[in-house]
Symmetry: C2
Subunit: 340 residues, 2 copies
DNA sequence: ATGAAAGCGCTAACAG
DNA sequence: CTGTTAGCGCTTTCAT
């Protein structure tokens, strides 16, 4: 199978060449030779290492010391900028001794259970599962410190970091109500629906307690992409308008972009005739026209908190079993005007 | 250090419980028990595996058989959707026996050399380096099949997949010339400049051979972000207009978004007064206003080709030493009108 | 059909 | 200071 690229040098090769033992090589290769080795031998070994282009084999090393140093991240769709920014936040605070890797799913937008299982079988120091659904959680048990990001349900033995939607939803409900909206529609996706449903339900509660409501059946699109939302909205938007809907809230900004495009194609004026709102506050949401009102989930900040939790869990200290992260509303032009 | 989460079960534990040898456990755990083991024993072992929640330790497994099965991807800035889509393409064609992981750099936008070194030390089946710069390439030697994506310079022993900018640049030059532009400005970034410079130079050649040119000093912004471009363009845009510049080409769509925003803030009409062009054709480029004209690099397709190359290199067959991938122009509203 | 044993390449005591 | 030794957990002949 694997092409052998002229077999990599081992510590033994180095030891032979430098005429020392592998133990010495190991010490030096790991910078632990602090006064335990003659400058002379040290040089010899270094030379040999250089000449043979030797590098410690991390697999063997990890096995030997029984310690891992990479933490992995799995998400439903790493293509969504939300997760990229989250990861970026994590990377920025993660202990330098740890290295971060994103497992890439193999089957389109679905949460790739296979990837999770690989992760669990793997030699990981820590694991972060973003938006795992119930089925996934039921199928697994942790093999390393694990953080669940905004899971619908928890899991014994795993920490979790929740999105506290309250602040954002209250603000959004008040914003919409204040603008005169009474009938709101919602757009979600078909698979991995848990997180988005939660967003929907939280908002719903707030709307109802203020005298408005999500009044028509949700639009459930198959994939969390702009295109998917656009395509599916084309049919439904006119009906919604007829039914008196004046605002549509999307579970994700990407979906909202699609709605914005659909509205334009159908010559439905935003925000005059229809207001549109997303969730996530992607970096592009201020840039589309009209710029999108959205519930800011602060992807980067979530990542930062997750990274800190991971540091504690992996490197010692008391693992925080549960934290919550608050959201807030960013009101922009797509809901700018008060209703007549 | 590592919290021990009640130590993971080993093959030995399973063997003990099921009263068989570890060899048998290994066979069964890997589904290689094809008629080599009594149904009875098989069951017993399976039960034990289940009861102990045993999972093969991939580190030990990899070490024992000397074969790797994960391929890694390193890029200057995984936050850029371009790389996410590229990865997605790779994932879609990669041999199912291989798993894909994205190494996340630790220091902002810079190409994280440390990540690359980790990758090289690691137990990888293959490695993809996106847009490596010369310094990086000089500092490393491959330890596994490696693909360089659009590197400025090649590296002995590594395959490469180049972006052939010719088609896109020719089309872009013709497009701009046809619209009446004679004086074009360029926006690039400070670090990791190689790929963007290449884009600039290729375009330059085409423009000059058609009687126009990149006529003012480039705007070099520190980071490849919308904000960075926006901030820095504010000063320079008016001067460009005064100097007779009628079009600005950006090395990346993200930069172009920034220019678009700057133009709006400065009340410079696009495309009437200024045309703007990007590179990459990010999924958002059709959605900003005015929608962005861009040289399509087809991130996903590049990923697909890289994935196929990797399959061949890792799983046998003749490794293609070098391929090229062609680009093309997507003309949209931001360059829609002919000059006066 | 199953087990014993020899590594994979490295690290970490422990001797000397 | 440096070498010897005993594993880490698994796979894989090779006996039985």
């Amino acid at each position: 199978m694997n092409r052998d690229q002229t077999r990599r040098a081992t510590a033994r090769d180095v030891a032979l060449l430098a005429e020392v033992s592998v133990a010495t090589v190991s010490l030096i290769a790991n910078g632990k030779s602090a006064g335990r080795v003659t400058p002379k031998t040290h040089r010899r070994v270094l030379d040999a290492i250089q000449k043979l282009d030797y590098r410690v084999n991390t697999t063997a090393s990890a096995l030997a010391r029984g310690r891992r140093d990479t933490v992995a991240f799995v998400s439903p769709d790493p293509t969504n900028p939300f997760f990229a920014h989250l990861l970026d936040g994590m990377a920025s605070v993660l202990n330098p001794a740890l290295s971060l890797t994103a497992l890439w799913p193999r089957h389109g937008d679905d949460y790739d259970a296979a990837a999770v299982h690989r992760a669990l079988a793997g030699d990981l120091a820590g694991l972060v599962l973003a938006c795992p659904d119930r089925a996934l959680l039921e199928a697994i048990s942790p093999t390393c410190p694990t953080i669940l990001l905004d899971p619908r349900d928890g899991h014994p033995g795993m920490s979790r970091l929740d999105l506290d939607l309250t602040a954002g939803s209250v603000a959004l409900a008040e914003h919409l109500i204040g603008l005169g909206h009474r009938k709101v529609a919602y757009v979600g996706i078909g698979n991995e629906t848990t997180a988005l449903h939660h967003r929907r339900n939280t908002l719903c509660d707030e709307l109802i307690s203020r005298g408005a409501s999500v009044a028509v059946p949700d639009l459930i699109v198959p994939r969390m992409t702009v295109h998917s939302a656009l395509e599916n909205a084309l049919d439904v938007l006119p009906a919604w308008i007829d039914a008196g809907v004046t605002a549509v809230v999307c579970g994700d900004d990407l979906l909202a972009y699609g709605i914005l495009q659909a509205a334009e194609q159908l010559s439905i004026a935003v925000p005059t005739t229809l207001s549109v709102v997303g969730h996530n506050n992607l970096p592009f949401s201020a840039m589309v026209t009209p710029s999108l009102t959205t519930v800011d989930l602060s992807a980067r900040d979530i990542g930062i908190r997750a990274g800190r939790m991971l540091n504690e869990m992996v490197l010692g200290g008391d693992p925080p079993p549960r934290e919550a992260h608050s959201t807030h509303l960013i009101a922009r032009a797509s809901t700018g005007l008060a209703r007549a």
